[in-house]
Each structure stands twice: as structure tokens, then as C-alpha cells.
Assembly symmetry: C2
Homo-oligomer: 245 residues x 2
């Protein structure tokens, strides 16, 4: 296993950083790495907004409810972006389609590939990072704070900074569960693998909390996914010109 | 700039590979790297299907229209996957929600972050890779070929193999165009940057084709996005239980 794969496998989400800011060179290196990712048909359907304004960071923290969003680290917001392409089309007296779920998916994939490149670049520089999906708790407000135009969608944030903690890793599903060969394997084929995994995750929590917590992965994700949340994302997307009929 | 960032920045999509197959160890390293990416609330809402069956590869090539999908490289298909979580919920006599665009986005982001980790891992091993978004040309057929259950969506493929060509890179949008500070910058603020970029892309094509081709980035993406394509993705997603009302 080479050094790059070791770095990738050593990923952990960090939420505490020192006060030391990123330099302009670091920011440009991170954004450059993000941009080097593949992009569907060269459309580059995303933008990255760096938020340094203290008042804006405070407002975004209130949306995400995560205090570290406000207090330290450089905050990048990844935005699905068809506004740029749409404005260019107007110059040619044309109009483009971005109103199908297919188009939205192209933008979400483009932005995500770019973000993951940035995540690895950050960790390779000795920096720590964490995704902030919880910016989607109030996408209308994020639009207002960042003055986003139509045909854009704030997908997630990422904080990047100089770490002050080591963080920990959560074990992933076993290879045999995530990787299928030629045909999708149904639940009855993998049930025992998930049971073993549940045991292993449960032991991790017990150890980390001195026996206070021992929930299994299955229980935890079912609880998470039972919650109906961010129900305004659909109507927001429609108001931005996505998901038309 | 460190070695990892140089590797990331040196990315190029490769479509020709030797006949040499990936070893089981290589496949496990690639999937392990993919799984190390962040996952929204630990849900791990994706699966990866490795396609080695020649008949299935042929059928998938017919969908994507890209001959290299059939002929060489290891073909991974990244699938947005709430089936696993949904089956687990049934065991607890519960049901989960995955019928909002928000849920679909969680799965698309999870799968994309994992895939980009795999892409970098592959390149770090001296392998080449290329995304295959064109599997979405016929998602119903992909479902049939891979026997996908409800609550899943085939997002894209990725071929990985031993390269026989060097490939080339397409210049990305300038830093000042993709990166905004605190507030989204409208078209009138960046028009001249895009014009310069268009010139630069145009020169690249001229050089590569001995003057035969000189189209600008703007024209190219507008043409791409004017096409209405993959119009059945919406109805497929609905039939799989996504995008409910």
C-alpha cells in the first residue's frame, strides 16, 4: 500500500483548529486541486465560495448548528452552479436545460468530486477538514447570505484548518458488503456480514465511551434515516430553476 | 506543492489500457480507499459493483457507447444505495425516508466522494481511470443488467486499468472564476476572465488538431447543455422510490 493510499485511508473528520489562518497560497493550492477532478463533459458546473466575513460565518454557523463553522478554520462552500453556463448561453441567444434531475446530478457530482480532491489535498498538507452537509438545513438562508443567483444550489460546506486534535475513525462496512460482483447481492446474502460489522461498531463505541454507549451501526443509520428533514430542499431547488416538470 | 497535490493536479482521464487485469489486492485497495471518504451521518448510502462478466460488459458498453467500457480495464459501477438501509429498517419494523431530493443528494454525494478517492488511489498506483457518466443513457437497462433492487440508482461507472497512453489535460476555469469571496460574483464581474480563458482553450484545441478545431469553452458547454438528454432519469428515479411527492 503506497503513501497516498495510506493518507487516504487515514482520513478523519476534524472539527477543531488553531487560530492560524490559511495563506492565499494554500487556498489557491486547495482550489487548484479541487479543479483538477474530472468534470462531466467539461461543464465545470460548480463554484466554491470562501467565507471569511465574520458576520456571515456566524450566520452560517446558526444554520448548521456546528460551532466550529464560525470559530475557526477556513470555510469553503461548494455550490452547484449552472448560472455561469446559463449566462454564457444568453450571450449566444441560446438557453440551456438544467431543469431535470439529470442536470442537478451532473452538478452535484462535479462539486463532490472537486470537494473530495480538496479534502485529500488538505490532509496531504497536514491540514484537517470536515464536510458540513448541515448547511442544507436552511438553503434559502444560505442563498441570502452568499447572494446566490438563480440556477445555483449550496451543496455543502467544508472547513479546513490547522488541527489541534487527532480525531478518530469510524470503521466502514466490510469490503464484501460494499463491493458486489457482476450482480447486486440482496440482503439475505449479506445479513451475517452486517451482523458482524454491527458487533464491531458497537465495541468501538463501548470502548470510546467507557461502556456508556454501545449502539450498532444498523440501529444508528435507521434512526438517522427515519427522520424527515430538510423538507424545503425540494421547493428551494424548484425556485432556483431545478427539478422542473 | 507536495507530491500528493502534484499527483492530483496531474490527473487525466485515460480510456486505453493493456490486457493486464487488476489483482484482487488492487481491487481491495481501491475499494478500501473509496470507503475511507466521508459519508453523510455514517449512512454509507452507496455500493460498488465490479463488472467482470464479458456479456454484461458488452451490454454496458452498448449503453455508454464507449468501446473501452467493454474491451479493457476493470469496470466499477457506483450505485446510490438506500436498499441496504431500507432492509435494515424493516428488521426493526421501521421505514426510512429516501423519497426526497435531499435523500437522493446524500446518496449521490456519498458515492461521488468515494469514487474520487478511488480515482486518486488508482492514479497513485500508476493505474489510469475514466468516469463513465454515460451509463445513465439507459438506467433501466443498467438496473436489469446488474439486477439492482428498489431504492438504488446507478450513478456512473469508472474504468481502471494499466495505461498504454499518456492522455492530455484540459485547462480548467481560472481560480478567480471558480473561487468567490464571501459573495457570489455575477457574470458582469468575471466576463473578461472567461474571455481570456476561452482564448486559451481555443489555442489548446488548435494546437492539438493542427488548426482543425478551435472552439471556445463557452461555446462548447453551451452546446452540450442545450441538448436535452437522459429524460428518463426522472421517471426511473421515481420508479425506484426516489423523488416522491
Amino acid at each position: 500500500m503506497n503513501e497516498v493510499i495510506k493518507l487516504i485511508n487515514n482520513h478523519r473528520s476534524l472539527r477543531k483548529f488553531s487560530e492560524e489562518k490559511l495563506s492565499q497560497e494554500e487556498i489557491e493550492n486547495l482550489v487548484g486541486a479541487a479543479q483538477s477532478a474530472s468534470t462531466s463533459s467539461y461543464v465545470q458546473a460548480y463554484s466554491i465560495i470562501g467565507v471569511t466575513d465574520e458576520e456571515k460565518k456566524k450566520q452560517l454557523r446558526e444554520i448548521s448548528t456546528q460551532s466550529y463553522v464560525e470559530h475557526n478554520g477556513h470555510l469553503f462552500v461548494f455550490v452547484v452552479d449552472f448560472y455561469r453556463n446559463n449566462e454564457l448561453a444568453k450571450k449566444f441567444d441560446q438557453s440551456i436545460s438544467y431543469d431535470k434531475t439529470e442536470n442537478l446530478i451532473v452538478g452535484v457530482v462535479d462539486a463532490s468530486l472537486a470537494a473530495q480532491n480538496m479534502a485529500i489535498a488538505a490532509e496531504s498538507m497536514g491540514l484537517g477538514m470536515c464536510y458540513i452537509g448541515s448547511l442544507r438545513n436552511d438553503v434559502n438562508k444560505v442563498k441570502e447570505i452568499l447572494d446566490l443567483p438563480e440556477a445555483t444550489f449550496p451543496l455543502f460546506g467544508m472547513v479546513v484548518g490547522h488541527p489541534t486534535t487527532k480525531g478518530s475513525q469510524k470503521e466502514r462496512l466490510p469490503f464484501k458488503e460494499i463491493y458486489h460482483e457482476n450482480t447486486y447481492q440482496r440482503m439475505e446474502q449479506v445479513e451475517s456480514i452486517i451482523e458482524e460489522y454491527d458487533q464491531s461498531v458497537s465495541e468501538y463505541y463501548k470502548e470510546r465511551t467507557n461502556g456508556q454507549r454501545d449502539d450498532k451501526w444498523s440501529e444508528q443509520v435507521v434512526k438517522t434515516l427515519m427522520k424527515k428533514q430538510r423538507l424545503d430542499v425540494d421547493s428551494f431547488l424548484k425556485s432556483q430553476g431545478f427539478l422542473g416538470q
